[in-house]
């Protein structure tokens, strides 16, 4: 990267970069300390972003990596006291958020912001030439991120784009900006393997243009696949840093070792033969969404007692709809969901206490599933009161015990949801469902928004539950092959169809359907070694 510091592509103002030394940073943070309400979120962090290189900040939620990344954008939390210095190359800093939809204006067509940005760059041109010049810049930027048919795309509203298109659009904005640095905040979190792979490729392409990429992530696979340099953060400090391979192979700090250890194999659930009869059976299910569009077809799916079934699929595959049909949250379907051979009412409003308790559901967004006004413990305890008729004080005691067993202290449980972390809330949500003593627990992507350490904790919990409670069956809805490994059987969904179904090992090791094949391969791609090691250690 030494010679030309020009960023590629048609866009981007050519900075007056002289023939720079080998490591001329495009952005630099020195001794950054950010303090909010007397608490140090970032404590003495230094960082250099080199052109064409990917620098990753890894750490659990709350480790300060987001605050550090935002500092490059010149943004700090309200009321923050800041020390240290942030230097950035001239030109703006690009930003790719975790949810690209959040930064896309829902009320404007996608072209609006792009045109406004481009217009600022063509101000020197004569008035008549500005419009076409701006338009050609916009189209070039879209082209650069493989968004073809840009003209039509610009006329759409953000909600009319797919998630992938949204992500690429955000990248196109950064390219159009002529950014020398792009901060990518958890770009792959919660994405399925295929999507992850695509994002990794896109970010690599950005770096290949000579742009310095700062990757904020707790997704170790992505970091490993992408990053040149890794900074491991914990409680606001950088505990370890260095080239990615070095940190991976010879971690020095104990925290780094712990973080990487998460990659270690999962505990193999005790394989139990499927019970004699299916607890829950789906027959000829065809689910629709309002306008009569069929989104899901499941001819047959059975969940046996004590078994864990994973429903694997990408976003939009219909897996959440399936989960909601089971739980009685989605009513517009034909066919039947049978509990012990008896059809369940479609709506949970029509399910009696026992049946309601028998099939419980844990939401993807734990925070949104709690009432923000009441303490978590109170909310959890209500399950026992309502579904099992336990007296209120006893229910509270039981809830406290359950929460404690799931790793949530009484002190935390007495708080309102806003004061709990995502992982804690997910545990509470599990406790809430478990208090019903369910026969089937449907978990919808319950780990997808969590960082690696937390996710690991939750998965361990689920494995423990399967072990300890004989009568409990799990239905795991997930996009994540790792999570699916917990299951005894896997059903793969694509485009609303069950494309493959069978014992977990068969599906994961010898996928039959091309879609499953690509899913398994792409998962193996970025973190091939770790996948292999997992296999050798755990599955062999």
């Amino acid at each position: 990267m030494s010679g030309s510091s020009r960023s590629g592509g048609a866009s981007g103002p050519s900075g007056p970069n002289g023939p720079a030394a080998v490591a001329v940073a495009v952005a630099e943070i020195e001794g950054l300390t950010v303090e909010v309400d007397g608490r140090r979120i970032v404590d003495g962090v230094s960082l250099r972003v080199l052109p064409g290189k990917v620098t990753a900040l890894v750490g659990a939620s709350g480790s300060g990596k987001t605050t550090t990344g935002r500092a490059l954008l010149g943004e700090f939390p309200p009321g923050a006291r800041v020390e240290g210095s942030v230097r950035v190359a001239e030109a703006w800093v690009g930003y790719v958020p975790q949810h690209p939809a959040a930064v896309l204006n829902p009320a404007r067509r996608v072209g609006a912001l792009l045109h406004d940005m481009a217009r600022g760059q063509v101000r020197e041109l004569p008035r008549s030439e500005r419009r076409p010049a701006a338009r050609s810049r916009v189209l070039a930027a879209l082209e650069a991120v493989q968004l073809t048919d840009g003209g039509a795309l610009l006329q759409r509203f953000p909600h009319q784009l797919s998630g992938g298109q949204q992500q690429r659009l955000v990248l196109a904005q950064a390219l159009l900006l002529g950014a020398r640095v792009v901060v990518a905040d958890e770009p792959t979190t919660g994405q399925d393997a295929l999507t992850k792979r695509r994002v990794v490729d896109e970010l690599a392409a950005v770096a290949a243009r000579g742009i310095g990429v700062v990757l904020l992530s707790h997704d170790l696979e992505t970091v490993r696949a992408l990053a040149d340099e890794v900074l491991v953060m914990r409680e606001g400090r950088v505990v370890e840093s260095g080239p990615t391979e070095r940190v991976w192979l010879t971690p020095t700090h104990p925290w780094t070792r712990q973080l990487l250890a998460v990659r270690a194999p999962l505990t193999e659930p005790v394989p139990r033969g499927p019970g004699p009869a299916a607890v829950l059976r789906v027959q000829g299910l065809r689910a629709r969404h309002r306008p009569g569009v069929e989104v899901l077809r499941v001819p047959e799916l059975a969940v046996h007692s004590g078994e864990c079934v994973a429903v694997l699929g990408r976003s939009g595959s219909g897996k959440t709809t399936l989960a909601r049909c089971l739980a009685g949250l989605h009513r517009t379907y034909e066919g039947e969901v049978l509990l012990d051979g008896v059809a369940l009412p479609r709506s949970l409003r029509d399910r009696g206490r026992d049946r309601l308790a028998a099939v419980q559901y844990v939401f993807q967004d734990a925070r949104a599933s709690f009432d923000e006004h009441r303490p978590v413990l109170d909310q959890v305890a209500r399950t026992a009161v309502r579904l099992r008729g336990v007296a209120a004080p006893d229910a509270r005691a039981e809830a406290a015990r359950t929460l404690d067993s799931l790793g949530l202290s009484g002190e935390s449980a007495a708080r309102v949801p806003a004061r709990l972390s995502g992982g804690e809330l997910q545990r509470a949500a599990l406790a809430r469902a478990l208090l019903a003593r369910p026969r089937v627990l449907v978990c919808d992507e319950i780990t997808s928004g969590l960082d690696t350490v937390t996710r690991r904790g939750i998965l361990d919990l689920l494995a423990g539950l399967l072990r300890d409670r004989d009568d409990l069956s799990l239905v795991l809805i997930t996009h994540d092959l790792d999570t699916a490994r917990l299951a005894t059987r896997i059903a793969v969904l694509d485009g609303g169809e069950v494309v493959e179904q069978g014992p977990a090992r068969d599906v994961l090791t010898a996928p039959a359907h091309p879609f499953t094949v690509s899913l398994v391969e792409s998962s193996a791609g970025p973190a091939a070694e770790s996948a292999k090691s997992a296999e050798s250690a755990g599955w062999a």
Binding site: P97, N105, P106, A107, R108, L113, M117
Partner: protein
């Protein structure tokens, strides 16, 4: 977008039903009013013989449902019927009064939107600062002042004391456009309260929009402040404001009695008041149809705007 088309068609169909329901309701209520057109016309000479004669002359001795049916049949042929009080066609009442009403309404809306939105954006931009507090306090205060009081105040100051503007539009009839000065005060009075509610709504919406990630994103990418406010943040504040605007226009078109009376502008509100006082059922009915249609169309418009500016995210699978 055929989905939007069929949605609008269904809405219009329901709007038709709604208008019919309004007309029936209004007919029932008008019939239930104490006294009828004959009694109203007789006034302080309630000679029973005369009232009976008037009733006969007006056809009021026929059963109510027959009169309603006749009227409905006429309406199907675009005939609104004739006034009981004068025998003139109801359409002449409506068309005569619609001009001034429409003029006042359009002028008011033409000013209301920029002023209301501008104030709202200004207050939101300086949220918590003195500009915001000034705008908020003034809008709150003016909102609490009754229209007539505001009207009397304006007339006293600008027309009678300073002699800048004519105090009323008396004698100008429908030719209000020829006397623009006479429109200033009525439009100001009409503006007073809607501006307040609109600007407060826009302010609230703008504060949310300005704090949103997409505005932060635009700011981050160097879009000028004014452009962010008006081109990027404002569209998101428009949806709730559109509903309010629709209700304001509805109010402006369906009779602004106080202003019409205070400034002698012969609009629909005046016709309505007179028609009810005279128990002139066909005129009241005709107005009910007009008002019903206006309301339906406006609500449809507002919903379309909301649809455009607040598109729902597609349902996740």
């Amino acid at each position: 977008m055929s989905g939007l088309g069929s949605w609008a068609a269904r809405r219009l169909l329901f709007g038709g039903v709604q208008t019919v329901a309004v007309v029936l309701l209004v007919f029932a209520l008008t019939e239930a009013l104490p006294g009828d057109a004959a009694v109203a016309l007789a006034g302080d000479q309630p000679d029973p013989v005369r009232i009976a004669a008037i009733r006969e002359a007006m056809d009021l001795d026929r059963p109510a449902y027959e009169r309603l049916a006749d009227w409905a049949v006429g309406l199907a042929h675009a005939d609104f019927g004739t006034s009981l009080a004068s025998g003139r066609p109801v359409t002449s009442y409506i068309s005569g009064a619609f001009g001034p009403t429409l003029l006042l309404a359009s002028l008011t809306v033409a000013l209301l939107v920029p002023v209301g939105v501008g104030l709202g954006v200004l207050a939101a931009r300086f949220e918590g600062r003195w500009v915001d507090r000034l705008v908020s306090a003034v809008t709150l205060g003016v909102y609490a002042v009754p229209e007539f009081a505001f009207g009397v105040l304006l007339v006293t100051v600008f027309a009678l004391r300073l002699d800048w503007l004519p105090p009323t539009a008396v004698g100008y009839g429908t030719d209000l456009l020829g006397h623009p000065a006479a429109l200033v005060l009525p439009v100001l009075v009409l503006l007073s309260r809607p501006v307040c509610s609109l600007s407060r709504l826009v302010r609230a919406g703008m504060i949310d929009a300005l704090a949103s990630p997409y505005v932060a994103h635009a700011r981050r990418y160097g879009i000028p402040g004014a452009r962010i406010r008006y081109a990027h943040a404002l569209p998101n504040a428009v949806a709730p404001a559109a509903q309010q605007l629709a209700r304001t226009v509805d109010w402006l078109l369906c009779g602004v009695i106080v202003v019409e009376a205070l400034f002698v502008i012969p609009g629909l509100g005046t016709v309505l008041m007179n028609a009810v006082a005279e128990r002139d059922v066909p005129v009241v009915q005709g107005l009910a149809v007009v008002f019903g249609v206006i309301t339906v169309v406006l609500n449809l418009g507002a919903d379309l705007v909301a649809h455009r500016f607040a598109p729902r995210a597609e349902v996740a699978a």
